[in-house]
């Protein structure tokens, strides 16, 4: 055997061996199926980053108010003038220097100006951007924690663009639960109940002449908990989720799932004082402005005791509440842009039929190649099989998922692989027809066909790279599979196929089976 032929064999065997090693065994752990084939849930959501700016603005106002009081500066009123803008009305002209010093020292993220008796602050663009950015990072982390608390295998939680987060959870068979879990902002509050539950607002507000008192608000019971009614509760919360110290799932005295909590010293003290003063009244436990339960305060609850949240939970719901509260609240609201749930049955069905169809197609093509091109056709068939092997190896290595559009990409690449072989074989036939010897016909056939094969594969690869760059989910899946299998194509159709010819005609160079 010629020396360079030996090296080619080694290279071919190495690439194929590596592919088999990467892809074997051909199952789920190696070749990941996309959601469309496996079933699962895909969510695309947007973090409402304005929320983060608003929260910062509110905090800045309360910070400055405190500072103004501490430094005995006079003012009439602090007002929020929109997104990241504050005005302080009624500041006196003779205290401008002092106010400037204060802003310079404590409000470095804010630009300020004075007009007449007003001071205006606006959040610096860079600081605002940083805040928005941070809120997305935090939201992603919170969602990550919540999902991980559930033990979903291979969750994919990805930031996309400025303010979007993609959540993909393959194989989840109870998507409603996940959606609920992620959607909750999880602001937990305990508030004293003034009236309720009542079936409608009119009944609820009978005692207050149909008016909502200034220090109260109307909340609804969570329809999911079977707490349909309306409640009139205090605006100010006794304690909130921030005061939580520990939280875990327990069963209550009726053996129903519940969630027990204990509070930190600060919150515990407040809780003790309020429960002591309100025995016989209801205290509402509120999650994201929905009343979960409103137990009666039977006795003063000491700070050591903590308490139990009951709400007709299923075991799963109690678990989820624990996960949500442990993972913390989302830093900003979330808006859903897209929700897709593919049931596992649909995935199983489409992959079974798709595989069957693919198999029928490939067998038919292979049979045709062998009938039409005889032994040379067998070369093409081997190249085709190796092509698919290398593709699977690469998919396994890159942990890329196989999707329905991905299968489209494979069909295109198989078509092009067959085409490459046909181009080569037809060229070889042309060379043989003009009376060339077998060896030189093969060499000529390959080199003449090469430019067309190279150009068409490379053009398609270039287009796929752009598709990957600018496309979304399924289009990207298509592009990835296409690029991988076209590269494999160039290797198998040109290199391996040529090698097989070289090995085949080494001895009997008189006649070629084509």
């Amino acid at each position: 055997m010629k020396k360079n032929l030996q090296w080619k064999v080694v290279l071919a065997v190495a690439v194929i061996g590596l592919s088999i090693f990467l892809a074997y065994p051909f199952n789920d752990t190696k070749i990941h199926r996309g959601l469309d084939l496996k079933g699962g849930i895909h969510l695309s959501l947007q973090v409402i980053t304005d929320d983060a700016i608003n929260i910062e603005t509110d905090q800045e106002i309360s910070r400055l108010e405190e500072l103004f009081k501490k430094n005995s500066l006079t003012y009439q009123k602090f007002a929020k003038e929109g997104l990241g803008r504050i005005s302080i009305q009624g500041t006196l002209a003779d205290q401008e220097g002092k106010t400037r010093d204060l802003f310079d020292q404590y409000s470095r993220d804010w630009d300020y100006s004075f007009t007449g008796d007003r001071a205006n602050l606006s959040l610096k663009p860079l600081a605002a951007q940083a805040l928005r950015d941070m809120s997305v990072v935090q939201a992603k982390e919170t969602i990550d924690n919540r999902v991980n608390g559930l033990g979903v295998s291979e969750p994919l939680i990805q930031r996309q663009g400025n303010d979007k987060i993609i959540v993909e959870l393959p194989g989840v068979d109870n998507p409603e639960r996940i959606k609920d879990l992620i959607k909750v902002t999880a602001i937990l509050e305990w508030k004293l109940v003034k009236a309720g539950p009542a079936p409608d607002e009119a009944t609820l507000l009978q005692a207050t002449n149909g008016q909502v008192p200034d220090d109260a608000e109307v909340l609804r019971g969570d329809p999911k908990r079977g707490q349909g009614g309306f409640y009139l509760v205090n605006k100010v919360a006794v304690v909130t989720g921030k005061d939580l110290r520990t939280i875990r799932r327990v069963t209550d005295e009726w053996n129903n799932p519940a969630v027990s909590f204990s509070l930190n010293s600060d919150g515990g003290a407040r809780f003790e004082q309020v429960t002591g003063a309100n025995i016989g009244k209801q205290i509402a436990i509120i999650l994201d402005n929905k009343v979960q339960s409103a137990p009666l305060v039977e006795a003063r609850i000491s700070r050591a005791q903590g308490g139990v949240i009951q709400g007709r939970f299923s075991p799963q719901e109690a678990d989820d509440l624990v996960v949500i509260l442990r993972a913390g609240a989302l830093p900003a609201g979330i808006k859903y842009l897209e929700e897709r749930t593919i049931g596992p049955a649909l995935g199983a069905d489409s992959i079974r039929q798709g595989l069957l169809a693919g198999l029928v197609a490939i067998v038919a093509v292979m049979a045709f190649m062998i009938v039409f091109y005889k032994l040379s056709g067998a070369n093409a068939v081997i190249a085709l099989i190796l092509n698919v092997l290398i593709l699977f190896g690469a998919l396994a290595y890159f942990k890329a998922a196989l999707t329905l559009p991905g299968i489209a990409g494979i069909i295109l690449s198989i078509g092009m692989a067959v085409d490459a072989n046909v181009l080569i074989f037809e060229r070889i036939k042309e060379e043989l027809a003009v009376g060339k010897g077998v060896a030189s016909a093969i060499t000529q056939g390959f080199s003449r066909a090469f430019s067309a094969i190279f150009d068409s594969n490379l053009t398609t690869i270039i287009s796929a790279v752009f598709l990957f760059q600018f496309g979304t989910g399924p289009i990207r899946g298509y592009a990835v599979t296409l690029v991988i299998s076209l590269l494999a194509n160039l290797f198998t159709a040109v290199f391996i196929s040529h090698l097989l010819f070289d090995l085949m005609v080494r001895k009997s160079a008189k006649k070629l089976s084509i």
């Binding site: 469309d36 947007q46 068979d173 109870n174 799963q316 808006k335 859903y336 842009l337 897209e338 929700e339 897709r340 749930t341 593919i342 049931g343 596992p344 049955a345 649909l346 199983a348 069905d349 039929q353 069957l356 169809a357 029928v360 197609a361 093509v365 039409f372 005889k374 329905l404 299968i407 489209a408 990409g409 069909i411 078509g415 092009m416 067959v418 085409d419 046909v422 181009l423 037809e426 430019s451 067309a452 150009d455 068409s456 490379l458 053009t459 398609t460 270039i462 287009s463 796929a464 790279v465 752009f466 598709l467 600018f470 496309g471 979304t472 989910g473 399924p474 289009i475 298509y478 296409l482």
Partner: protein, 386 residues
Amino acid sequence: MQLFKTPSIRFLKYKYLALGLAFAIVLAGVINIAFFKGLKLGVDFGEGTLLRIMLKTPSDEGHIRDLLQTVGLGKSQVQKSGSSGREFQIRAVESVRTKPSDKEQIEAHEALADKIIAALKGDDGTAERARGLVDLNGIDERSLTALLESAFPGSGPEAARAIIAQRNTAGIVADFRELDGLGLKPEVRSYIQDKTYLGKMTTLSRETVGPQAGSDLRRKAVLATIWSLMGMLVYIALRFKVANGVAAIFTLAQDVLITMSIYSFTSREINLPIIAGILTIVGFSINDTIVIFDRVRENQKLMRGKPLEDVMNISINQCLGRTIITSGTVFLTVMALFLFGGEVINDFAFLMLIGTIEGVYSTVYMSCPVVLFWQSWFGSKNARRR
């Protein structure tokens, strides 16, 4: 084996006729899209909710529409899929009229989906649930495991997995007898029958796309397609001539437009996987085009002095065997997908069937003539400069 001796058909003699025909189809398609039927955008690019459901017993579109009518959703598009008569696609078209914020809109779409499911289910299972039974067609693996584990500690996970796998394969459990042969212990088997009931339907998939995501996906798909066409244009222009690059883009634009037209005429939905299909057609077409261009380039060197049109005719003829074999095998592949691939893949396969025929046609009758025209307009000037 040889298909035929290299023929000498004067393909390009009919170039005006062929171009006229292509132009007419595209024009008809564009007019149809712009003024009449339009393009039916799937949930990906429009907005709204798409449900795929499977029923325990066969039904028909009319019956399902009647059920939806009772909750005022009679205008929803109901489409039977598969051959069992048990699978249906429902697209809720009732738009959310009051145009609240985006956030509320997607929630409104979700609520619509809930309403549809509730309407289809009717009072199915109410009595059973009151007796404490659970729906075997709705329960998830974890809960089923818990249920079995409470009665048969140790064998819950395995039994639950087997049952869920069976349900996933069949789509829905229509009869408890389907659980026979899963290797369940007799007591487990009868426990299941005692503690669960078979709900009449299951949701196979549910997709809701909000207005913002819809327009975003639309924009990105168009952008990705345009950029990838530009990439091809530049590469082909560099490897061949500008004329070839321009011709390739015309060819591909025609492929896309004709496909879109046929989609418009047949009222099939355009969604993201269909975009992948269109790109695949473009891929095959560009492959064909390049093979011919390559041959023309080679022949131009061999046949100096011959008019380009003759060289092109010869090249197309020389490649004819290859064109027929390659397109034939692809056609074979796609036909298999179309016939056996199942509902999900069917639209895609249909697209590819059109595409393989269209791709060959456009390669011969679009790419070559455009190069000819380009050369006759700009070619002489270039020659003088040299």
